[in-house]
């Protein structure tokens, strides 16, 4: 009986040892995988963290002053405002749409904001940096008539093929009318944008080939006194 117990004890300890071994092995395995998981997760979190604090710094003040038509002072004011709103130094499309929508609470400004974003984002990087911002502003506010009209042409030319066709123009005009919202006087009819586009093409498309090229556009705009006069209105925005 005694020996029986003894052997029982032995076998017990034996099994115990084996069990402990197994446990250790399992433990190390799980720890390793845990560690891997943890490092992977940590990397992922670090990545997210890094991406959120990515900072884009613009080129020097002198360089920007040379490239744009703004004075140093004006650039300083612009950058301070920009940096305050976007500490990371870039504006992505969603933020851009939000900002623009604040000015047009009546209607839906998101479509037009999308086209505007593409026009501002000259490098097609998906985000607007301060340089993009300031270059575009310089063209629009301080540029020559030709530069302003070229910028506008690029805005209308959604696919950047050098021609504005009716579909592109209809999209733009519809986006603009969307900003007006529902409650207008007189009430918006469904074919109002189309009529507007037809009128536009009537004026701009000189050779009646259904598309407007840059030259046609420039020529027609320069012939129109209203447009010429309006272009001078935004001189002193800043």
């Amino acid at each position: 009986m005694h020996t029986h117990i003894h052997t029982l004890n032995q076998s017990h300890t034996h099994t115990l040892c084996v069990a402990v071994n197994m446990g250790l092995v399992m433990g190390t395995f799980s720890m390793q995988s845990n560690k891997q998981d943890r490092t992977y997760r940590k990397d992922k979190i670090d990545d997210d963290f890094d991406m959120s604090i990515v900072c884009h710094r613009p080129e020097g003040l002198d360089k920007l002053e040379a490239q744009t038509n703004f004075s140093k002072r004006e650039l300083q004011v612009l950058y301070r405002g920009f940096k305050n709103e976007c500490p990371s130094g870039v504006v992505n499309e969603d933020t851009f749409k939000q900002i623009y929508a604040q000015f047009f609470p009546h209607g839906d400004a998101s479509t037009y904001a999308h086209y505007l974003f593409n026009a501002f984002d000259s490098a097609h990087s998906g985000s607007i940096t301060f340089e993009d911002f300031v270059m575009a502003l310089s063209t629009l506010l301080r540029g020559s008539v030709r530069e302003k009209l070229t910028w506008t042409f690029n805005l209308y030319d959604i696919n950047r093929d050098g021609y504005i066709n009716k579909e592109e123009m209809t999209d733009i005009v519809r986006a603009i009318y969307d900003m007006m919202g529902k409650y207008t006087y007189p009430a918006l009819k469904t074919d109002t944008p189309k009529q507007h586009v037809d009128a536009f093409f009537q004026k701009m498309d000189k050779n009646r080939d259904g598309v407007v090229t840059l030259d046609e556009f420039l020529l027609s705009c320069q012939e129109d006194e209203n447009i010429m006069r309006s272009l001078q209105l935004f001189e002193n925005v800043i």
Binding site: R73, Q76, V77, L78, R80, G81, F82, N84, E85, T95, Q98, I99, Y100, Q102, F103, F104, P105, H106, L116, A119, F133, A136, L137, L140, L141, K148, L149, W151, T152, L155, Y156, I172, V173, I176, Y177, M179, M180, K182, Y183, T184, Y185, P186, A187, L188, T192, H196, F200, M204, F217, C221, N226, I227, R229, S230, L231, L233, F234, N236, V237, I238
Partner: protein
């Protein structure tokens, strides 16, 4: 994010260049920013602590004191700074709001002081950021509760009665606040004594007394001295009934009083006696009558008028009703489960006490509450296992809701303590305040006697404050450009629906033709808008009388320069209404609305009197502003 809308204004306006080729009309002239200086640093001196910030930072929120022209009132010419005689520590937070767009609530500050500062600077507390909002709300609620208690305690009835109080009022006062008069106090103690006597009598009644001569069995005292006890009972009931009737008479609202808990207790306490009087001495019904005597014990609850602690306990139980309900429900669930299990576990045992599931309920409850009488004990192994699980779980289930009840009790108890403390302190405080006031008036009278008051203050020149904000100018110009581009105008929902209705009925409004003839005017959009306002003021039934428009055209305009003027109003960030402030230089339109009777005269053509175009030109309706301002500022 939506903090600096003003920062993006130049960008939005520049982007408007994209509309120019599409525009079919000329663009309106942009507002001339006469006061535009290049960005400069402003100095703000708050009680000696000097802050500096860019002017642009403050201009971000034109609806606040610092963002609007109101700060010019605080400008000190000599030191070239804005001086505010306010708390400099709080100002830090205010300024941070301008800088970052987020308002934070400093936890160590008193909430009322903070709110006052916000009110002074024209910032509404609702824009506190999410991080601090919860704390702010909690503190505010706590404060409000405390204030409500204080006012309640003040109004509570310690003030002396007005001299014309009726007997009823006096009686009610005596009942509710016994310490106000000696008679009330005496009455209070007498009733308390009789309640105690009645309860003791009920208890002693059942104690076995020495048996009567010639009998062996012990008698309960109630039967031995039945006459004495019944006299005592009758006397008590009479007193209680008198008291109840007097209270009923004195109560200002008898229905409310009859429904209150205390009156219900009173009724329940005295009712058995009267029912016993009414019912005959019948063997059959005496059983029920005996049951009714049990209700006499409810007289003990009458003590709650005399004891505050009892009332608190009652309040606590009321407040924790949901927790108690949960406790009861979970207990019931557990009892049913375990009783079922125990019954089936013990079913095999011979001669077991677990005869049915309801019989097992008793075992389960006794075990879960850890009483363990031992009258029912499981025999089988399974029964014992489940029995032990039952007792363990019982401890848990009962322990869970108890802390909630305890904390509620503590809160209510402290509230009551505070109320009592307040009442005691109030008297001292009021006395001291009265003394101070008397001192002041005495000093004043003395001063008057001595030298007389000095003469009035110097004339102050009325400064003409310009109320427009550059931001609003620019924004309106931008929207105007959009209107010109699309050849449509912004309106509001009401006008839109009216116009739709009118169109559908087939009225050809000659208004539009008369207006279209005014294309040459620079501000025709305004005129159309005012017309719309006029239309809105007209009766919005289908049969709109055209003549009403004429009546409504009594718009008073004095003089307006050609440039567009935008009256700025200092509105809250969530403003719903605006006041038009009159500028010194520019005059704004005041639209007088005249209610028009509905008339069914269709084809009254609108006389195209020259007065109307002249009046309507250069007017500015406030609806336009209201909409824009409200919408933008609410960001």
């Amino acid at each position: 994010m939506a903090a600096g809308v003003a920062t993006w204004m130049p960008f939005a306006r520049a982007a408007a260049v994209g509309w120019l080729p599409l525009a079919q009309q000329t663009m309106p002239k942009p507002p001339v920013d006469k006061t535009s200086r290049s960005d400069e640093i402003l100095f703000v001196n708050v009680s000696g602590l000097r802050f500096q910030t860019w002017k642009n930072t403050l201009d971000r929120y034109p609806d606040t004191l610092l963002g609007s022209s109101e700060k010019e009132f605080f400008y000190n010419e000599e030191t070239q700074e804005y001086f505010f005689d306010r708390d400099p520590e709080m100002f830090r937070h205010i300024l941070n709001f301008f800088r970052t767009g987020k308002l934070h609530y400093p936890r160590h500050e008193c909430i009322q002081a903070f709110e006052e500062e916000l009110a002074f600077y024209g910032i509404i507390p609702e824009i506190i950021g999410d991080c601090c909002m919860e704390e702010y709300r909690d503190r505010k609620k706590e404060n409000q509760e405390r204030l409500a208690e204080d006012t309640e305690a003040e109004n509570a009835g310690d003030a002396p009665l007005p001299p014309d109080a009726t007997l009823r009022d006096k009686l009610w006062r005596a009942f509710e606040n016994p310490h106000t008069s000696t008679m009330a106090l005496v009455f209070y103690y007498v009733t308390g004594f009789f309640i105690a006597v009645s309860v003791i009598a009920n208890v002693v009644e059942t104690v076995p007394c020495r048996p009567l001569k010639g009998s062996v069995k012990d008698l309960p005292c109630g039967e031995k001295f039945s006459v004495a006890f019944s006299c005592l009972d009758t006397a008590c009931v009479l007193i209680f009934s008198c008291e109840y009737l007097m209270r009923l008479y004195a109560a200002p609202s008898r229905c409310d009083f009859a429904r209150s808990v205390m009156s219900v207790i009173d009724v329940v306490a005295i009712l058995p006696f009267y029912i016993g009087l009414v019912m005959p001495e019948n063997e059959e019904v005496s059983g029920a009558f005996v049951t009714l005597r049990v209700f006499r014990v409810f007289r003990i609850f009458k003590f709650s008028r005399h004891s505050q602690g009892l009332r608190i306990l009652g309040c606590t139980l009321q407040a924790c009703a949901s927790e108690l309900g949960f406790l009861l429900f979970s207990l019931t669930m557990a009892v049913i489960i375990f009783a079922t299990v125990m019954f089936y576990a013990e079913k095999g045992t011979k001669g077991t006490t677990f005869s049915s599931i309801p019989a097992s309920f008793w075992y389960t409850i006794v075990t879960m509450t850890t009483l363990g009488y031992g009258d029912m004990v499981p025999d089988s192994i399974a029964g014992k296992i489940f029995g032990s699980i039952c007792s363990l779980s019982g401890v848990l289930v009962i322990a869970l809701p108890v802390p909630v009840i305890v904390s509620n009790f503590a809160r209510i108890y402290h509230q009551n303590q505070r109320a009592d403390k307040m009442r005691a302190q109030q008297k001292v405080r009021q006395a001291r305040i009265r003394m101070a006031k008397k001192g002041a008036t005495n000093a004043f009278l003395q001063h008057k006697e001595d030298g007389g008051l000095q003469g009035g203050d110097s004339d102050s020149t009325a400064l003409c404050v310009k109320n427009r904000s550059a931001f609003e100018h620019q924004h309106h110009h931008l929207l105007q450009c959009l209107e010109k581009t699309t050849n449509h105008e912004f309106t509001d929902e009401v006008t839109y629906s009216e116009v739709c209705m009118m169109d559908s009925v087939g009225f050809r409004t000659s208004r539009s033709t008369s207006l279209s003839s005014q294309q040459g005017a620079t501000t025709t959009c305004c005129s159309r808008r005012s017309k719309r306002r006029a239309i809105r003021l007209a009766n919005s039934t289908v049969s709109v009388s055209r003549g009403s428009v004429q009546e409504l055209a009594t718009l008073h305009i004095t003089k307006t320069p050609v440039g567009t003027q935008y009256p700025q109003s200092r509105s809250n960030l969530n403003a719903r209404t605006e006041d038009l402030k009159l500028n010194c230089d520019d005059y704004t339109a005041a639209i007088i609305s005249i209610p028009t009777p509905p008339a069914n005269t269709p084809d009254e053509s609108l006389p195209n009197s020259p007065a109307i175009p002249g009046i309507l030109r250069n007017s500015r309706s406030s609806t336009y502003n209201t909409q824009e301002t409200v919408k933008i500022s609410s960001l």
